[in-house]
């Protein structure tokens, strides 16, 4: 048992933290998230130069050869800085799915581009009717000759407005919600028949509603086994969950720390409000929630390679902890900041929004409690 970072991991950590401190202030976040195009390609290039975009990718394809721990290191730092660029969709989901199920041609084409910052991917998995059920798909892909034809609608595809390609889950067989019959496709974002409606999200990201109307996708662009992609999708979603747990952890640390700092300077009734015991105990509870979240982030990160059921339990348990902590820490950070907590000009509220939305992403507390319980 060993919970220490390796020398390389420490190096990675220091360099990403330094890069963001120098180049990714809260002012940057505000400017980027409120302006067009809604992300900063320049930052993306910097991430690439530092090796972040290839951190968990194999060295043979231009990556650093790291794994979930490297992703955790990057994402915790990104969470602290409110980074809006689509790291998880591109690197964790896109890179991850191609690495574990893509053909050699896919890998050679895409992984080096991802690592170099030349490709942005988005993950189109949610649908209006499906809520958090990854198999509740109405988007269909029908084989026609050497191509698949996609039809249907995907919701809230984060990062899609500036993506080069989409990872799309679709039903190739079976009935809605059936576990069998799913496939994954790599789809050119500019393919004929794709129409999108782009919009900003409440936590400063960009996303799209995407409609597929007879979109032809070459059969080569099928990723992994046809009709049996659910295990692959679940694996990748659990990896994305671990990454977002780390992101939320970084954001919660900021919420907790800045609340403690604020309470030391803000005076009411002649004393810093941090001297009031009721608020002290609340801040202790926030601190404990953050520490418990750090533990769970570590736990899920280290268990991503375990057996399927151990991995699923770990991911759901971590998501439950993070979701509850996010609510408690976020709400109380705002409450203790008082009126200041309500303004859009302070970073605080944006961290609150980000961690709130992470609870929704890939299923909220209720969904994962049920999933956890169902795993026995």
């Amino acid at each position: 048992m060993d919970f220490a970072y390796s020398e390389e991991q420490n190096l990675l950590r220091n360099s990403v933290v330094r890069l963001l401190a120098d180049n990714y202030s809260f002012e940057t976040f505000k400017k980027v998230s409120r302006g067009e195009p809604g992300w900063r390609p320049e930052s993306w290039k910097q991430f690439a130069e530092l090796g972040l975009l290839g951190a968990p990718l194999p060295e043979a394809y231009g990556g650093l050869g790291g794994g979930p721990v490297e992703t955790m290191v990057v994402m915790e730092a990104f969470g602290r800085a409110l980074v809006v660029e689509p790291y998880v969709p591109t690197v964790v989901v896109g890179g991850g799915i191609l690495q574990s199920a893509g053909s050699e041609a896919h890998k050679q084409e895409w992984l080096p581009k991802i690592a170099a910052g030349d490709a942005v991917l988005a993950f189109a998995f949610a649908e209006p009717q499906g809520r958090y059920n990854l198999a509740d798909l109405a988007v269909t892909a029908k084989k026609q000759g050497s191509a698949y034809v996609l039809n249907g609608q995907k919701s809230v595809v984060i990062g899609a407005p500036f993506a080069h390609a989409l990872i799309v889950t679709a039903r190739t067989a079976g009935a809605r919600r059936e576990e069998k019959g799913l496939s994954v496709f790599l789809v050119n974002r500019r393919a004929r028949g794709i129409s999108t409606r782009d919009f900003p999200t409440v936590d400063g990201l960009r996303a799209s509603e995407i409609t597929f109307e007879n979109v032809e996708v070459p059969a080569d662009n099928l990723v992994g086994t046809p009709d049996d992609a659910l295990p692959l999708i679940e694996q990748i979603v659990d990896e994305a969950i671990a990454a977002h747990c780390a992101e939320a952890l970084g954001a919660m640390r900021m919420l907790q720390e800045s609340t403690v700092e604020f309470s030391k300077t803000r005076k009411q009734f002649g004393v810093p409000i941090g001297k009031f015991q009721a608020l002290q105990h609340r801040m202790v509870d926030m601190f404990m929630q953050v520490e418990q979240s750090a533990s769970m982030t570590l736990m899920v990160t280290l268990k991503l390679g375990d057996s399927e059921s151990a991995r699923k339990k770990a991911a759901s348990a971590a998501k439950v902890q993070i979701g509850k902590a996010a609510r408690f820490v976020g709400q109380n950070a705002v409450q203790i900041h008082g009126g200041m907590g309500m303004t859009d000009e302070l970073a605080l509220g944006h961290y609150f929004k980000r961690v709130t939305m992470i609870d929704t992403l890939y299923g909220n507390v209720d969904h994962h409690l049920k999933r956890y319980a169902s795993l026995g």
Binding site: D136, F199, V202, K267, F269, Q335, D344, T360
Partner: protein
Amino acid sequence: MDLTFSREEEAFRERVRSFIAEHLPARLKGRTRRDLATKEDYLDWHRTLYRKGWVAPLWPKEYGGTDWSVTERYIFNEECARAETPPLIPFGLAMVGPVIYTFGNAAQKQKFLPRILSGDDWWCQGYSEPGAGSDLASLKTRAVRDGDHYVVNGQKTWTTLAQFADWIFCLVRTDPSVKPQQGITFLLVDMKTPGITVKPIIVLDGVREVNEVFFDDVMVPIENRVGEENQGWTYAKFLLVHERSGIAGVARSKKAIERLREIAAAEQVDGTPLIETDEFARKVAEVEIDLTALEFTELRTLAAEARGGHAGPESSILKIKGTEIQQRITELTLEAVGYYAYPDAHGFGDNEYPVGPEDSVGTAGVYFNMRKASIYGGSNEIQRNIIAKAVLGL
């Protein structure tokens, strides 16, 4: 003991209900404060009630009140919530109005009260300052006597809808040499006076709801002082405990739960409506039960008032539980809509409809915004301090 309404009360309810049905324009129904963009939107329903003589049920009859019993006021509030009438802005009707008719002189009553009732004057509240939130008495905005004027300098903040206001009522410090509570004066200030600047504060959901108000050598005639100089804290405190009925927001929360149920009935989980899943049904049941308890707590308070008592510090319960419930409902609504909580309702063009089902639009914003409920108007921590001291004697 009896829970039923008398025949007269039922008849009253009928009168209220049909008046609303007849006079509430469809375009205003169900619009909450945040949907009301223009001053006219806000004032429309206010004026309708004014013309009917129903705009100020809390006021004494002689100043334009309705002379209703506690039960009738309760019924009126219920019917308004049921019909989803737009809210009335409280700063004139529920706040400065009662201060003026209780502590103001004859000239002030004559000048201000009718225009509050009619909606001709829009008021805002100048209490909080950057350094004085929960600890209101530490306020620093100074007013110095200069002949028959006060010269006001300083800053107020979190001033709701100041951008529409004709007048602001302010707590200002007139004597810095005494205990914080003692040197405060209550002034009525014309927003058109030179030296006043209003700067917007954008809140979490991207809306301009509150403002900073700056005072730079603002001249306020002495006749605009309410009551005695340096006695303003008394009037301010009066306002804090005065008539909290409605503060619990029971009827509005009932309506909000109804909406939540509708949303959760439309949302599907593996083919079952969300509202029928065990977990979500229980969560809705829990908040509904909490609300039932609060409703009866409010009724007990009203009954005590009707028997001649008056709402004591126990009524802080209404504020605490009321806001907790309102917040919980917005939280459950956010949960209910799933991924469609993501789109930023303010991130679409003016004539562009946001993505997602109609009911989901803006739910995240409402949730974020509603966090203010436990902060403003005396934070819930302050309310707990009040109960601890005044009720439990701690």
